[in-house]
């Protein structure tokens, strides 16, 4: 992907975006690594590990997404101010 950012004034929010993507990558990759959780044990409340581990990934992914959301909000604001200073939308 060539112009991944494409942000006109570049730079200012780029580091935040790297952080945001770093936060979100585990939420996408970990649930796909089946060998990590394809076992019966340990069980919890009667649930085999295979089932409760995947259920537990949901709140974990929510935490990461909420963090990413607050970071993205700040980054967007920063970008907009940078653009305004740049004089052109």
């Amino acid at each position: 992907m060539t112009e991944v950012s494409g942000r006109p004034q570049g730079g200012s929010s780029r580091r935040t975006w790297v952080l945001i993507v770093t936060l979100l990558v585990p939420a996408v990759v970990v649930p796909l690594l089946v060998p990590l959780y394809d076992s019966e044990d340990p069980t919890m409340f009667g649930f085999p590990f295979f089932f409760w581990a995947q259920m537990a990934m949901i709140p974990a992914a929510v935490v990461l997404t909420v963090l990413a959301y607050s970071l993205a909000k700040g980054a967007d604001r920063q970008d907009r101010e940078a653009r305004r200073k740049g004089g052109r939308a």
Partner: protein
């Protein structure tokens, strides 16, 4: 299967009539000037905030798929059935990253459909048409899945069964279908948005009662998992010969190593497919500002948790001794056996309404594609707003009939396969739409070739995939040995993979390779109408309007 009690049926009928009235009344809800243009009919005026969007997008995603199709897989002992959970985990971070860019560029340029974007970005009518047709085609089996969901509930209620005539048998489904078609026709997107409130309320009540009450009825979760696992093991040992001969599929709760990639590719493939369906794009574009999408990506996983518990209703049905030959009936039958009559009626209503809402949204979205990218692009370039809206209304009817055809002619053991078949097709638009949001590297002709290769490979492979134990049958499974071509013998591994995912990989290889070639040959790549900053525009920026002028031509 004897019919249900009058109480259950009356409760069901009450809710069905309630949403029917709401559906028609929705035409007056939050009404702008008139419904006879595409932004109003097809996107509800694009003024939805976080709250309504949460219900609306949730209404899109949690459907008969969740209530009927996924539990059916677990009930039938398909060890990959739980993939729906990682799928709904993975999808939200992807939505978070990709869709705000699509929102921005669409609101800056007045794009109503993904094909509008592709036209603007790649300046290629064939490619935009391919994307539009793929969207319409892929939506049909997805709607068909909803119709199957309605059908099994009606069957369990005993409505129409007990008659040998196919007409009497399918009549209730046709009635539900006609009612749906009629209020979608008159109210557009407002109808499902309003009904989504009733739907979500009902679904939440039913789910919470189901997951709290049912396990205790059958001896707790311990017993649920133990009984399910035991029933699978005893099935496997008593059918060992058939399994060894490939005439039956082994059952299980946890995927064995051979199916690890199948599980992961189904999850990722479904996640990537989900947000390219025209109906997801419709819901996303109908939000008021960019941040609504990100906020929802953080809020919507609340539904995923319930989806996981609902999937396990398939095991609860086993533990409760539900015996049905059609696994799709497992959950409705479980409800009928275990709930008091009146609550069974509520639960049936929840499933049916939960299928009607997405079916309406999906058909509207597919209709928008038809009108914008086929009718207006080829048939009547100077269509008036009223003509556009009229085209969409009629197209939404045709799409629903296409879905009916899938129900009647593509008979599948698992309704879920219908959705996965749609996924095989819609995934082939990924390079043009999603990667296109980031880079203009791809050449338009290369994208078209990649799309064609993916479509042909995916359709052909899916068509030739027989059901286990039924050689010569078609569309029997969404999985296939990875790259099932003669020259793949050298591959160091042997694994099953979701056909849609393999087709997407082929598509990408062709798109990337040909892009290099075409660029080196300096073949005209077309004019890109979007600018890098368009992908970040938000409400309040210059040139971004809350409600777009639908009269502005899609591709200036």
């Amino acid at each position: 299967m004897s019919g249900v009690s009058t109480v259950a049926f009356s409760v069901f009928l009450f809710f069905f009539l309630l949403v029917t009235v709401l559906g028609f009344a929705a035409a007056r809800w939050r009404r702008a000037k008139a419904l006879d243009n595409l932004d109003e009919w097809g996107l509800g005026g694009r003024g939805f905030g976080t709250f309504i969007a949460w219900f609306l997008i949730g209404g899109d995603l949690y459907t008969a798929y969740t209530f009927v199709a996924v539990p059916a897989l677990l009930y039938a002992g398909s060890s990959i059935g739980f993939f729906a959970v990682p799928y709904t985990i993975v999808v939200y971070p992807l939505i978070f990253l990709f869709l705000p860019r699509l929102w921005s560029v669409s609101h800056r340029h007045g794009y109503v459909t993904p094909a509008d974007f592709v036209q603007g970005r790649y300046d290629s009518r064939p490619l935009a048409t391919a994307v539009a047709l793929t969207g319409i085609l892929a939506t049909m089996p997805y709607i068909a899945l909803q119709l199957v969901g309605i059908q099994v509930v009606l069957e369990v209620m005993g409505i129409g069964t007990g008659s040998d005539s196919w007409f009497v048998k399918d009549l209730p489904l046709f009635i539900a279908f006609v009612v749906l078609a009629a209020y979608t026709y008159s109210s557009g997107l407002r109808a499902p948005a309003l009904i989504a409130f009733v739907k979500d309320l009902l679904i939440y009540v039913v789910i919470i009662v189901a997951v709290l009450y049912l396990p205790s009825q059958v001896g707790g979760w311990d017993n649920v998992f133990a009984t399910a696992t035991h029933s699978f093991t005893s099935f496997n040992s008593s059918n060992a010969d058939a399994i060894a001969a490939g005439q039956a599929a082994p059952k299980g709760a946890i995927p064995p190593p051979l199916l690890h990639w199948a599980y992961a590719s189904l999850a990722l493939g479904s996640a990537l497919a989900l947000f390219m369906y025209p109906h997801s794009v419709t819901a996303v574009l109908s939000t008021r500002e960019r941040s609504v999408i990100r906020r929802n990506a953080a809020l919507l996983p609340a539904y995923s948790f319930l989806l996981g518990l609902l999937a396990l209703l398939g095991f609860i049905a086993i533990a409760a001794g539900v015996k049905v030959t059609n696994p799709q009936q497992a959950v409705p039958q479980l409800f009928e056996n275990e709930f008091p009559d009146w609550f069974a009626g509520v639960a049936f209503a929840a499933i049916v309404i939960g299928a009607l809402v997405p079916a309406a949204i999906m058909s509207i979205a597919a209709a928008n594609l038809w009108t914008r990218n086929i009718y207006k692009a080829f048939i009547n370039r100077n269509a008036t707003h009223a003509q556009e809206a009229q085209q969409s209304k009629v197209a939404s009817l045709l799409v629903k009939f296409g879905a009916l055809a899938f129900v009647l002619f593509v008979s599948t053991t698992y309704a879920l396969d219908l959705q996965l078949l749609g996924g095989v097709w819609i995934l082939q638009t990924f390079p043009a739409i999603v990667i296109g949001l980031y880079t203009r590297f791809f050449h338009r002709a290369a994208l078209f070739a990649g799309w064609a290769v993916g479509m042909v490979y995916g359709t052909w492979t899916a068509y030739n995939n027989p059901k286990v134990g039924d050689p010569g049958s078609h569309f029997g499974s969404p999985l296939d040995p990875f790259l099932s071509v003669p020259w793949s013998d050298w591959l160091p591994f042997d694994t099953l993979m979701y056909i849609g995912f393999t087709a997407l990989l082929l598509n990408l290889v062709v798109s990337v390779g040909l892009s290099f070639v075409l660029r080196a040959m300096k073949i005209d790549a077309g004019v890109d109408q979007t600018r890098p900053e368009d992908y970040h525009a938000d409400l309040g920026d210059e040139g971004v309007e809350e409600e777009l002028d639908p009269g502005a031509p899609a591709h200036a």
